[in-house]
Symmetry: C2
Subunit: 302 residues, 2 copies
Amino acid sequence: MFQKLAIVGLGLIGSSIAHAARRGGCAQAICGFDASDDVRARARRIGFADVITADLAACVKDADLVILCTPVGAYKEVAAAAAPYLAPGAILSDVGSVKQAAIRDILPSVPAGVHFVPAHPIAGTEYSGPEAGFASLFDGRWIIVTPLPGGDDNAAARLKAFWQGLGASVDAMDARHHDLVLAMTSHLPHLIAYNIVGTARDLEDVREGEVIKYSASGFRDSTRIAASDPTMWRDIFLNNKDAVLEVLGRFNEDLAVLQRAVRNGDGQFLFDFFTRTRAIRKAIIEQGQDTAAPNFGRDKAQ
Amino acid sequence: MFQKLAIVGLGLIGSSIAHAARRGGCAQAICGFDASDDVRARARRIGFADVITADLAACVKDADLVILCTPVGAYKEVAAAAAPYLAPGAILSDVGSVKQAAIRDILPSVPAGVHFVPAHPIAGTEYSGPEAGFASLFDGRWIIVTPLPGGDDNAAARLKAFWQGLGASVDAMDARHHDLVLAMTSHLPHLIAYNIVGTARDLEDVREGEVIKYSASGFRDSTRIAASDPTMWRDIFLNNKDAVLEVLGRFNEDLAVLQRAVRNGDGQFLFDFFTRTRAIRKAIIEQGQDTAAPNFGRDKAQ
């Protein structure tokens, strides 16, 4: 489908794109760049790309699809460095969890004749690095593209077909709405999970060993997403501040109401609240976005 | 090991105890009571007990081990109703997530010569009802017993052996400390998960359909524990108010600090915070309390 796919940044998402593109026959050649010697060496050992290089210019040169897979905080620098070598007609895309900041940092570098189509795969795991990638990561998951106003429709359609070839479904929306939706579905849950784990660690009347031993009562769920890549998540919160603070404000308001119901012993309020939340879980399972197996099916695997 | 095990309340935990006790040969006969006609009929169809009855007196009569598995809010009434029929020398226990309230509500009814040993299995799933139970639920999990001061050591030892026969390990601590530890490891994570799901549902700028479609970005994790039994969780928050408000206060303080770091764009603080939380996840996996598989291993199963 594409002649040369250039993947810039070989962590969980970059390496998974390479695996999935190979599986789907979505690119004739795959070239991977990473700034880290260590990451490149590990990526070479795994062998998910035809060429792994430390030369960004060589990686993106002649590529008809270039996907930036670095943390969002590196976009400005890497886009500026790659821009002079991008081929006319090439599609430039990314996978960042924040789309307004991605556009802010990448667009000014994009040369005329190159089609910038921002995108974001709603998929991942708590692991990072080139070993963390696997071909089925995007199967059944959603990719959100946030095409620029006046952008090239054909480029957007080709990028959409690429992601479908990787096993995903594709939606489009504007970048501002994306950032609000993701603040709710991803950034807030991560911030809260990090915070729960932080509170548990610092609570002086409960030993850390107790928190770990008795984690199967609920706490362990929070620790999974709180084990995600710190650099990636630092950059997300630095670059989606407004939307995160907006939904965090709503979360805090709601929590104050729930806290008052606990303080007042308002059993009917609590029961009704805890009943309404079940419907969303049911819908997520019905739409194939989570497993119906109890405890995510993990306990039998142990 | 026991002659007759009486299980009062045939939901997830009660039915799992029956399955696991059979598997482990921990009781010669198992009798189950439930107040609901429907639950009893379903329990009979599954067949995890020798007798299923609507007669609480008959259920506990002659039992040398009686375990209350109803929601915590029903303890006072059910203990008072069962008390006159408890056999001298019997062990009376429970599985409630709140131990001070369990003692407050059960102990006054316990006849002389009956040994009350409160206990709490740190295990469960988001499902409820008699169909939700399975024999391996307690395998590798911790049971916390909170023996009463001056209680019978032999009874506590026999209850410990029973739970070990069900596949679990047993710890002991005082009830007050239990309630604080569980407020942190279980009650707070559930309250927060319920609240995240509530915020997502009520956010008017983001459609519920979007929250569901893009839930694999983190949100879906919260929905699992927010799908837990509403009656059980209402009773937990009504009966462990002080400890929950204490850890919730700490959570809110910590969140205010994290919120300020986001607002100020303090990247170093965020990075350090997100790095420290990884160690707890690692320890939980090393101690066998969670799977190391990415995304809890659930995505491959879909």
